[in-house]
Symmetry: C2
Subunit: 526 residues, 2 copies
Amino acid sequence: MSASTPGGPQIAGHDSRADMTLGNVLAEHRRSRPHELAAVDGPVRLTYSELAARVDLLASALLQAGVGPGGRVLWLGQNSYRLLELILAVGEVGATVCPVNWRQSPAEIEFVFDDLRPAVVVWEAATFADVVERLASRCDTAFLEATDRSGDSSCESAIAAAPPLERTQADGALTQVIMYTAAHDGRPNGAMLTQQGLVASSFMHAAVNSLFEERPVFLAASPMFHIATLLGVLSTFLVGGTNVFLPRVTAKEACDLIESERCTWAYLTGPSISEVAEFATRPGRDLSCLRVPEAYVKTDSRWAGLGRTATSPWAHATGAFGQTETTGVISYAALAHGARGAAGRPSPWFQVRVVDPDGAEVDNGQVGEITARGIAIGPGYWNRPDLNQRRLRDGWWHTGDLGRREPDGSLSFVGPMTRMIKSGKENIYPIEVERCLLDHPAITDAAAVGVPDPVWEQSVLAVVVTADGVELTAEEVIAHCRARIASYKKPRHVRFVTELPRIGTRLDRDELDKQHGGGGYPGVGR
Amino acid sequence: MSASTPGGPQIAGHDSRADMTLGNVLAEHRRSRPHELAAVDGPVRLTYSELAARVDLLASALLQAGVGPGGRVLWLGQNSYRLLELILAVGEVGATVCPVNWRQSPAEIEFVFDDLRPAVVVWEAATFADVVERLASRCDTAFLEATDRSGDSSCESAIAAAPPLERTQADGALTQVIMYTAAHDGRPNGAMLTQQGLVASSFMHAAVNSLFEERPVFLAASPMFHIATLLGVLSTFLVGGTNVFLPRVTAKEACDLIESERCTWAYLTGPSISEVAEFATRPGRDLSCLRVPEAYVKTDSRWAGLGRTATSPWAHATGAFGQTETTGVISYAALAHGARGAAGRPSPWFQVRVVDPDGAEVDNGQVGEITARGIAIGPGYWNRPDLNQRRLRDGWWHTGDLGRREPDGSLSFVGPMTRMIKSGKENIYPIEVERCLLDHPAITDAAAVGVPDPVWEQSVLAVVVTADGVELTAEEVIAHCRARIASYKKPRHVRFVTELPRIGTRLDRDELDKQHGGGGYPGVGR
């Protein structure tokens, strides 16, 4: 303790920053809400006191199984209270858990397994017996079987046999969760999310969803291997609410649980909304406990039949920009009150810069790569040192997404950054040209390709699909663009085709280059 | 960048925890909301872009004046946009500002000056000319005069002459604000509040006041040398709202500003409420912009005439426990939804333990000292190494306040810890006995004093004042207590007096001991 330095964390031997962990939140819940319900999952009902005791034992069991600081655990299962327990337990020992995307093929799951090299796999026998058999034959990882929502499993035996936990020092900067993201560069990459990042993001998530207003009960029905559902669970946990786990969405079970557990919120997407709405509106049902965001009701009438209208900031404006690697949302429309950019403004956890390829901030109105920094930004991808070096340049996380600051300073998301075209020192992002081309009423699909140019290094080739029976000339296409975007961005060449190559819904840009002579891109740092 | 360690902040040369500073919030506001109004103060109106530019210059001017990392600045002024600028500017250079309690006597202000030893004093000529004259004669501190809300001052000249700022590395663990608190132990002590603590507390303050819901406009009328008003300003700043500064509360000006600037919230206390309400309800006034907490209206009808009813968590339940040293509120009734303890439950930033004098957690229902840890806890008091060592034992901040966990885990605040009586190994806090005594209908005032006891080390002496004309015996008083509190806590002796010695409203316990033979207290770690 020194009186001469006003700064510095001066609690002897203790940096209070280390305290920003979900484990410390759990320690306080154990004291503050011992009898409140933390988790519901089929027949399992755990109070915060019971959850905390189980997490200690599970952490001890993981240590016994060789998962120490820096160790990895793979969760091969659907939504379950066990995944929440695992996240908290690995946090206690400074280790990491990866909830696998169980919709992937066995080969894809094997890729994750080989990439992660987990010391322990916790798996649900009902769904993953075949996968586990293949994995078990080729390594010495420990496999703890966790029969769904039952007390009879090797996972429960390990918990029962665990000695008292010897805790390691909490540290918010440690990675706690690894989530594999879409394979934009040909293979999935495991985004590392830190203890403090999960706390910070959950806090903001709680604030924009008004979870401090009434004790939340969350229906975790959408897959928890997606960051949105995970944050739903963790923000509910953060404020001491109840998480209700459903392995996967089925409309009747979702409705039954919302009704019986009085769920106050849930994430439902796509087809499940219709199905749930159909069940919800049957006579005798009472789902008035569920808060339904106003914005959802406005854009999708199927929501109208579900519950009552929510009044949280998020409920009014659900526009946002973020990614798994930033532990979720960076920028919220809900924080931008009438601003021009649909992605709104950053939460107080983030700073954002829109930059050119040299890392210089571009002027408002110009498109560039969105970069961010702040306490919720993770340390990059597991086992990808080269990629991390490119993505974490100059202390800023390079999102690989294009954006623009509007004149009022708010953000617009433009699209994923793909090949950047460089023409006469100017940067041209294909997506900008493509958006302009698609504004033409006669054009139904379009791609912009960078083709080698002896004078300009590269120039833009527009590859377009026109509506049936419409005649369009190259000059007309070029004139359309010249009137709408900077002249250097307009196509110099146009090709008419009947179809563009795609992988799923995404343009297959490798194939486009191959078909149309694209090449010479200066690289965009992905 | 290492692929073999999953944890650790791996942005090269950058610990993202350092980012939790108000300065980083300002940097992002400058980008995200350049044209939005940050501050209003008399004729001064500053956008976030203008505020950020001025803060950079002020920071540079402070550096020039010798305020580097660890340096101190004293603010001798009432509420002003200049104090917000100073807080942000010292943050930029790793220094600290102390907003003086201007209600103190010149001698008390001199004590703070001598204790703080500031390199620079920024002062308002209108109010502090006499004080500054006395201070200036005895040291070589630089004095920057900041004539109220005017551009013509030595402070403005220093800003105008400042070279571009060379920033130091942001670090959330540094002390940014020092606030002198009440002189419980005979002299005021300067509580050190860190950059990260101010961000964390402001974030929670924003959440419980629903500041993410609509852009807030805060009337800073109550003194900013109190943590509640300061957090009102900083939480409004955090979410990019407007702060409207009024040097001190006058009812007409407050009403005029609420109306003209469309203020959405304010702190008003005591007599100012009546005065403001009187002005607010005059014909032609429209203060419908102001959100008035429901809980205030219920307990004090004068609020009813002001504005519309607020719906934030805080508006429904304003019970709380906290102190300046913990950067404000630790525990909120608003987070406890029907719990028994009036102080509710801790915010996610805090862990709380109620402990005995040996630091062991006491059982629920037992009274002990409230201790806390977490990211918003500061490093203690400026220039008080011995006191800090006592208050920060075992990595926990000892609040010097007594509390109790109810059976449901929620917290009750019992009262300030004063002398603890030790009787036969049992701890007895005078305030518990005093509360019991005051429950007796015939007792109008009471104190519990520890008197030496040959067998029990100490025993309890009750010193009581009875209502006029009521006869009461010692036996009756003891029987009353025996029926209500643990037997070992009951008084063994009773003395009847006509008056108890007080300092202001507080019991003068030194004088009580002197008058009634108290002594032999084992010490309570303050």
